[in-house]
């Protein structure tokens, strides 16, 4: 009996060792270019954050088509694999691990900052470059050397919309703040908003905590309205934020509303409908930016969306940022392949060298010219503040840039 147990244990240990050896040898083995240059993406295509993931998928696929149309990586096509990271940390972790084990040279994603804090350390430990298209919380690039982002952090853009609200209405005195306490993006951004308010002499009269999956905000809203705010500042995701705005307006609030990056998607229009009208938002992207890169992108987006007349031909920020993430990886791979042919490198060598190329490059993107700090933080020149203008009937609208 003891002997059988010992031999079973030995077999188990051997199998585990063989499996880990397998994994190690995959990373040390040559890059598999048989189906193209492997790049992975992990996007929230289902769950509460799916509204972002769907926008991002379009952007990544447009960039892929553009890159491969221009010859891919020096003649080799990019082979993109997209996995659904859901809208939760466990599914994002699983999708990251799956993509890394498949030998992806770089990853785009995950969609939410909350997921990034959980999944990015996996990529960091395995030495896989990550370019985040939409993580705006403080501390994302600081996760490690292999983590970078093309989405400007909240501290850079969020205060712009507060300043614009005060410029539009200098008589604003009382601000109410709402944020989702169980979401990394919301908790990070609300601190920045509150600091921006304080810097302008507007200490929030109330700070209301919600939760990501909340749908009814009657208690929080009525408590906030008791404080008679003339400005409401929201750090929420699209779904809960859209619902809160609708309920806020239905309960009679008529003042200014400033929202954070989580609501930076046209997918809020069907949620708050006519009540979306007038909300202010700072943006890291403008479809009106007159650069060749952006004009190519907007034209490609409009052409792709033409098949569905119900969809707006104007690209949202999340699509532009996802496009940019794919473009950055594609261009960095091409540069790397010219200096060190990918076929001569092991997977781990290629990943390490690619990270250096990503951080060392300058890119002409739909967001304008961007570069990276040595930590992986994006350096971007152009930021904008937009106001939502809903069409009559309240079914669709647009982010109208403010001067």
């Amino acid at each position: 009996m003891k002997r059988r147990l010992a031999s079973s244990l030995a077999a188990l240990i051997s199998a585990a060792a063989a499996l880990s050896a397998c994994q190690g040898s995959d990373d040390q083995g040559p890059v598999n270019l048989s189906k193209g240059v492997p790049v992975g993406a992990v996007l929230a295509l289902t769950g509460n954050a799916n509204v972002y993931g769907q926008d991002q998928k379009i952007g990544i696929e447009l960039a892929l088509a553009a890159l491969n149309g221009a010859g891919g990586v020096n003649g080799k096509p990019l082979a993109l694999s997209i996995e659904d990271g859901g809208s939760a940390e466990p599914s994002a972790n699983a999708a990251f691990t799956l993509q890394i084990n498949r030998g992806m040279l770089a990853l785009i994603g995950p969609t939410l900052s909350q997921q990034a804090f959980s999944a990015d350390p996996i990529a960091q430990r395995r030495g896989v470059p990550v370019v985040a298209p939409s993580n705006t919380a403080t501390g994302i690039p600081e996760i490690g050397h292999f983590i970078s982002r093309v989405s400007a952090q909240s501290s850079v853009i969020a205060p712009l919309s507060i300043a614009k609200a005060l410029q539009l209405n200098p008589s604003i005195r009382r601000a109410a703040v709402f944020y989702a306490q169980d979401d990394a993006y919301s908790t990070a951004e609300t601190v920045i908003f509150q600091q921006a308010l304080t810097a302008k002499g507007l200490k929030p009269v109330t700070v209301q905590r919600t939760q990501l999956n909340d749908q009814d905000f009657q208690s929080q809203i009525t408590a906030a309205l008791n404080q008679k705010p003339d400005l409401v500042v929201l750090s929420l995701q699209a779904m809960d934020g859209g619902n809160l705005i609708r309920q806020l307006r239905e309960l009679g609030y008529r003042g200014a509303i400033v929202v954070g990056n989580g609501m930076n998607t046209p997918n809020i229009y069907p949620i708050c409908q006519k009540y979306c009208d007038g909300i202010l938002i700072a943006q890291a992207y403008s479809p009106e930016l007159a650069t060749p890169a952006n004009q190519r992108f907007t034209a490609a987006f409009a052409a792709a969306q033409a098949r569905n007349p119900k969809v707006s031909p104007i690209p949202p920020q999340l699509t532009a940022q996802a496009y940019t993430a794919m473009q950055v990886i594609g261009e960095a791979l091409a540069r790397l392949d010219r200096s060190q042919p990918l076929k001569s490198l092991s997977v781990s060598q290629a990943r390490r060298a690619l990270m250096d190329e990503i951080l060392g490059g300058t890119y002409q993107t739909p967001l304008g010219e961007i570069r990276f700090t040595p930590e992986g933080e994006v350096i971007q020149k152009n930021f904008f503040v937009a106001q939502v203008r809903m069409n009559a009937g309240g079914k669709s609208g647009r982010f109208s840039l403010l001067p």
Binding site: L45, T46, G47, N48, N50, V51, Q54, A180, Q181, D182, T206, V207, Q208, R209, T210, Q211, N213, Q215, D216, Q218, S219, Q220, T222, A223, A224, L225, N226, M239, G242, N243, R246, Q247, R249, E250, L251, G252, N267, P270, I271, Q273, K274, Y275, N308, K310, V311, G394, K395
Partner: protein, 310 residues
């Protein structure tokens, strides 16, 4: 006074949703002694059915992408029709997940697991057919009714008042049916002792189907109303309500119809009593409150103590 009234409105408006959800839950439990975990998925379906029936279109994803019915019903008609469609699905769930196990005399725990499986399958089916995106019932669906009402300085959204009123009406109708009709009494008899009821000539299987049908109708109507109140947050819309509904069911007393309503309203009020600045913790408070009540009264507020069998 104004603050107290506002707190009452806040609690009742949320509690009505929980109560309506738990009514259907408790009806099946009262007959079968099993919690139907597919109830949340049927609630979700009710919201989607309502959305489609009032003329909503399926989005860009899923096998039914772009689908729109060739007609559009007014909300007040769409809601009961959606309820009936949800009832039909509940009956299918009963036929697939409950009936075969009951016929074999299986342990009720197995039915609980199969209902969980049926719920997961339904949710995935919704996702497959209409995608994972959220849907919104248009603002203005209630016609010329004002968006909110102001009573003695306290404010409440009209849709919440309607929800509360419908929950009350359905409770009254259900109570009248259960206590005042022959079939309602037959249902009570089956819930007391299905074998004896069968011997007395009551068709237990039929009564169970009726319970499932009504439960599905209630879930469908609740889903449609909550969908009107907030956006339909994708296929997993009913999951959170399912968890809360379970708490309400236990608090009110397993199998007690008035208990489901009382439990819903109390949980709603408990949540509303959480200071607004700390309302992110309201779930912890409501479940903590549930825990305390059960320590004092393990059978729930209106439940009957389980007799010890010797």
């Amino acid at each position: 006074m104004e603050g107290l009234l506002q707190l009452l409105f806040n609690g009742l408006s949320v509690g009505a949703v929980y109560a309506l959800f738990a009514l259907g839950y408790t009806l099946v439990f009262s007959v079968l002694g099993v919690i139907n975990f597919a109830h949340g998925a049927i609630f979700t379906l009710g919201a989607y059915f309502t959305y489609l029936l009032i003329g909503g279109a399926v989005g860009a994803n899923g096998l039914l992408a772009g689908l729109q019915l060739p007609f559009a019903l007014p909300f007040w008609l769409a809601l009961p029709v959606a309820g009936m469609a949800a009832a039909a699905v509940a009956l299918v769930v009963e036929r697939i997940a409950f009936s075969p196990l009951r016929d074999r005399g299986s342990d009720p725990l197995l039915a609980l697991i199969t209902s969980l499986g049926a719920g997961v399958i339904l949710v995935n089916l919704i996702q497959l057919l209409v995608g994972a995106e959220s849907y919104s019932i248009p603002v203005g669906t209630l016609g010329s009714l004002p968006a909110a009402l102001s009573i003695a300085g306290a404010k409440v959204r009209t849709v919440q008042v309607i929800l509360l009123a419908i929950a009350g009406l359905l409770l009254a109708a259900l109570s009248i049916w259960i206590d005042g009709s022959r079939s309602g009494k037959a249902l009570q008899a089956v819930s007391e002792d299905p074998v004896t009821a069968q011997l007395l000539g009551i068709n237990s299987g039929r009564m169970i189907q009726i319970a499932f049908g009504i439960s599905g109708f209630l879930a469908g109507v609740a889903g449609g109303l909550v969908g009107l109140s907030v956006s339909i947050a994708g296929p997993y819309f009913g999951i959170g309500y399912g968890l809360k509904g379970l708490g309400v069911l236990v608090l009110g007393g397993l199998g007690s119809v008035p208990g489901a309503v009382l439990g819903g309203l109390i949980i709603g009020l408990a949540e509303a009593c959480v200071p607004a600045e700390l309302s992110g913790y309201k779930d912890a408070v409501s479940f903590g409150f549930l825990f305390l009540v059960l320590l004092i009264r393990p059978q729930g507020l209106l439940g009957r103590p389980q007799p010890n069998k010797v």
